[in-house]
């Protein structure tokens, strides 16, 4: 008797394989860096064939960009959800907390988004800044509106925090990211320092 073919849709298989390939690239980036990683390494680690990889992605850069877009999307969704769930005056803290927890939970994805993205390829750098802009918009929506401030405030706060996280992750301290919550929350409130400090 011939065993029945499992009823799995072609899209599911494609999604699964894409996910597998991008996950493998993330692992390899952490271990040896994007620069040193070749498509051949991905093929070996993912236990698939070069043909399969080529079917879904045109180049190493394409795999990397797919991985980046997916990871950033996940992070953004989590942050938005956390912001909405929190009370209005604790939204900044909740959103920041969600980002820090994500960094601690998936260190490989965090490494890719924060460390590799900013110097892998020019296109990944552009994606990185587009992601920063999205977070800046999110922050703008959750800031108290009464305060007048420079238009670039949100972007610079997001950029500053991303840079601090990047160095922590680079130094292998991704798991301790949540400890930064109180200090970084203070930093987010910096533009609202009202009293002249003299």
């Amino acid at each position: 008797m011939i065993p029945e073919r499992p009823m799995i849709s072609a899209e599911f298989v494609a999604d699964f394989r894409r996910r597998k390939i991008t996950d493998v690239l993330a692992e390899l980036c952490v271990e040896q860096g994007y620069r040193a990683t070749t498509v051949a390494d991905v093929v070996t680690r993912a236990q698939t064939s070069r043909n399969t990889v080529c079917q879904y992605f045109d180049s190493r850069e394409q795999i990397f960009l797919a991985l980046l877009v997916r990871s950033i999307g996940e992070l953004l969704d989590r942050t938005k959800a956390a912001c909405q769930a929190a009370e209005p005056e604790r939204r900044l803290e909740a959103g920041l907390g969600a980002v820090l927890d994500w960094v601690a939970e998936v260190p490989a994805a965090a490494w890719v988004c924060f460390v590799e993205a900013s110097c892998a390829t020019p296109e990944s750098l552009r994606r990185y800044f587009m992601a920063l802009a999205e977070f800046a918009t999110l922050l703008r929506g959750n800031f108290p509106a009464v305060i007048s401030r420079p238009v670039i405030t949100e972007e610079s706060l997001v950029g500053g925090i991303a840079s601090i996280l990047r160095f922590r992750i680079y130094n292998g301290e991704a798991s301790r990211a949540p400890e930064l919550l109180s200090e970084l929350t203070d930093f987010l409130h910096l533009p609202f320092l009202a009293t002249p400090t003299r």
Binding site: C29, V115, I147, E183, P191
Partner: protein, 306 residues
Amino acid sequence: VPVDPSHKRHKSLLEYATISNRPPLHGDRKEEAWTGAPRRHRTASRGKDVFAEQSRSAKFARQEPASPLPRGRTDLSREGVADHQRERVIAAIATMLAERGYGELTVERIITGARISRTTFYDLFANKQAAVLFAQETLFQRFIEAIRAACEEQQEWPEKVKAAIATTLDFAEARPAQTQLLAAEFLAGDPAIAARARSSHDRLADLLGEGRRHYPKTAALPPMTEQALISALRSLITRGLVMEEAEQIAGMGSQLVELTLIPYLGSAASPRSARRHDFLSRRRLRAERLHPRLPPGPQRAARLSR
């Protein structure tokens, strides 16, 4: 800590943040455009940095030198030619990094961009890493010198910050690729290059941190404030360069100044509405509720003297 007496009455934050009246920084740029080779050469200046002279006269030459020296005999000394070649290597590295990223930077591409031979490249530098380190070092030296010169012309600390930011933006406008090289962190690249980038970052943060001497109450600021501010400025400028929003960079000046000065001078927002969100004063407000501060007068003097 001694406090600078020139800060007796400080201006409002917004007064500092308007850049319109800044001294002309690059007015002579047009006449003194880069011509490819140092104009005059004296045998006496052998070993001197001919490019330092150049960069003093034209604050920041807009064009980055890419073309080699003309063929045939040159009146440059051996060292002068080597300087010119190094300069081309710096420009080539910067352009290549901006176009293709560190991952794609090879000696092959550098020598093609700089139009020197492989042999010459290895005469000048031990390897690619050495060349990138040299480019970082040289460019940062020039950048920090320009900032220092701009700051020296100013008396008040906030004015110095303003001058430094204006200089940075001029530098970014005139030399986008080199600025991107200076601002890059190279974390996923070579550890030595990343460490070099980190140390220049720290130097800028220390420079900004001098503001704390002028504003003693800034002791309450989180210790990483300066680091975060420098990162923020760096991120904004790089973003402008990467996304090719050059005109936006030029327009950001006053906002960058305002943003940088807020932790030291306080927000320009109306104090009453801002105070509700002022995380540092929260504790003080609570303390005042418990022990209301008396208005100045005999009663207060009596309480204080107790």
